[in-house]
Symmetry: C2
Subunit: 410 residues, 2 copies
């Protein structure tokens, strides 16, 4: 019998009406002959309220206690969904992360899943129950409650789908799928039917913000088909899966803009082995996550180096660079926090020339200056002035026909 | 090192300010060289809100799921108290019922405690932590979350005090102790310094409503000193303990009135062995809790029988009596739901005469008609007209000097 995992985020279970709708979805999938596991997040603004309650008592609450507190949000949702299903005449049972032995490490507030028990779930599924599991939470080996951090419920759902060998992990959300770009900036953006894990990873980490990258990495690692779809309408959304041969034909799947970035440049660093390692080890020590790095040799002795960080990490990054700059004989440091990064992503660019060209030409025609360029195998990113970000994204989307379904692009 | 268990009810942790005050109490007891275990209930009206959320989805929610839902209330409180203590620079750790292995049977919504793990608590106490345990909740042997029913947090606290061999179990509440009677009816009521478990059991089951009888039974069974005191002021409250020799001198410790009662009379039941058993077994089968029973022989062949039940059980009780009345050849049934029961309680009446007399005389002088009388070893109860309930209670309180401290009564 096929197993379907359905994940409902906070907005999809925000009130009684929405909980009933989520329960009806699960019942429907069960009617169709599937075994159904539901993974749910905390209701609407519950988590925000709990965080506010905590901060009122302690501006820096211990993470273990914070996990204890926040995990109640999902526990409430899953029991309410079970009650809604019972009211529909269904057999349903809810479990906390601890109860199904969602075992994690002990890094409270951003724990990593180590293993998941399936016995209890399988037993209830085989007995005809719809099983509802609290997302976002687990327990460490001492039985302390842990949480998985941002996007944790997605990760719970995909991980459960993996261990249960589910046919699909459906992610219900308030949008009806993944679009080629942000429709608020490019209203003509087309919905994608299908996207590969790698593309989605590039899009997610670049700020598309629909699913957390950890969940997609999990999906990729364990080959879990992820279906992102609307909790309001019953129509197909976007399927995230392994790369398929036909995807090769699509040059660019999507485009994104990321604004909350800053760029730090180090001018005239000693050009010798080990210096880059020294700098980035020091940044890692300061818990700064570094995005794209560019290094250019300017002489035999000296190189310029630059990298981007989230604006929220800028102060820490600057401090770390101040500490290390003399060791690497850096002549000067500059900072830009008025930038935007425009990226195009597509597995097709692996085997096709001209993608970068099309992008640069579109930006040039839009009179947009490119500060710097970085690429990966399936991504090209340009740093531009922040105030030109929107027009740059629109220019790129038009150049790659991102208003059309993939099969109709030139 | 002495162990103190402190229990804070819902009103004592209703907001951040009160949580801080509860935390400060625990810290203070810790300062005094005690090991401190805090047991807490859900904040203020949280439980009511959760019940409302559940009923909106299912008018008859499965009890297992209800326990799953309601147990989040205490879990939130204990983590918040731990955060407040951390903010005061204290080492503190919170636990759910499951985490300390508060093992119960599987009667969801009114589970009975079977055993409690102490290893984890003792380890943390020995390491200098204040340990905060979620009251009201446990788990069955399959790891399902259970709750202990009304007054469950009191029971959790007293049970923990028992297994930890605590010196005292302090019950913090919004009153400053136990009074000789309800001060809303008899404003001059005196606070008791000391009361025995048995007296408190009679008073609790008669509706004094300060502590649930199950917690007091637990205290009696395991000889746990229970100190009921105010969460707002730092002064001694009322100590509930084993009976002590000096208590014998106090004729009447307290008086209560219970109003939500109904009385069912069976007229002309066959006066033969086994008939009473038949009737009350049938009532028990209908899950009706029967309070006082009176039986009077009216002839060699016939007897009249009456008993009181909670008004909420009256419909069930009437139905059960209708089913059984022909079997016992009952000639007619009458029901009164306009009654009140006035009781006086005191271990002193075991060894002193005249208590009943004083009570009846006080009622007679107040022109209050007595419908019926029942007694136990340490209690005398009279059924009176409901509309005379308050004046009956006041008359009795005055007769026994219940406005004076015990040692000053005549």
């Amino acid at each position: 019998m096929a197993i379907v995992v359905q994940k409902f985020g906070g907005t999809s279970v925000a009130d009684a009406e929405k909980i009933r709708r989520a329960a009806a979805r699960a019942a429907e999938a069960h009617n169709q002959g599937n075994q159904v596991v539901v993974v749910a997040s905390a209701r609407g603004k519950q988590t925000d309220q709990l965080v506010a309650d905590a901060l009122e008592l302690n501006p820096n609450p211990p993470r273990r206690e914070m996990d204890m507190l926040l995990s109640t949000g999902e526990q409430q949702t899953v029991s309410l969904i079970a009650m809604a299903l019972d009211q529909m005449g269904r057999k349903a049972i809810s479990f906390t992360g601890s109860q199904i032995r969602m075992l994690t490490d002990d890094t409270h507030s951003k724990a990593r899943i180590k293993s998941i028990g399936t016995d209890r779930i399988r037993k209830k599924l085989d007995a005809g129950h719809i099983v509802i599991v609290a997302g976002f939470q687990g327990m460490d080996e001492n039985g302390n409650i842990t949480t998985l951090g941002r996007g944790g419920s997605d990760t719970s759902a995909v991980a459960l789908a993996a261990v249960l060998k589910a046919d699909v992990c459906e992610i219900y959300t308030d949008i009806d799928g993944i679009y080629t770009t942000d429709p608020r900036i490019f209203p003509a953006a087309a919905k994608m039917d299908h996207i590969s894990y790698d593309e989605m990873l590039e899009l997610a980490s670049l700020g598309a913000g629909i699913m957390h990258s950890r969940a997609i990495e999990f999906g990729k690692k364990f080959d879990v088909k992820i279906h992102v779809r609307s909790s309001m309408e019953d129509k197909p959304g976007t399927l995230i899966s392994q790369e398929m041969p036909e995807m090769e034909g699509i040059l660019v799947s999507g485009a994104t803009m990321q604004k909350n970035l800053a760029k730090i440049g180090l001018i005239g660093v000693d050009n010798k082995p080990g210096n880059a390692a020294k700098i980035f080890a020091h940044l890692a020590g300061a818990r700064v996550i570094v995005n794209d790095i560019i290094q250019v040799e300017i002489s035999k002795e000296k190189a310029n180096m630059s990298f981007t960080v989230a604006k929220s990490d800028l102060a820490d990054a600057q401090k770390a660079i101040d500490e290390i700059k003399e060791q690497v004989h850096c002549q000067s440091v500059f900072v830009r926090d008025d930038i935007a990064e425009i990226s195009v992503v597509g597995v097709g660019m692996r085997s096709h020339y001209g993608v970068a060209n099309t992008m640069f030409k579109a930006l040039a025609e839009g009179k947009i200056n490119i500060d710097s360029i970085t690429t990966s195998e399936i991504r090209i990113s340009c740093i531009v002035d922040q105030e030109q970000g929107e027009s740059a994204l629109v220019a790129v989307c038009e150049a790659f026909d991102l208003d059309k379904p993939a099969e109709k692009r030139s």
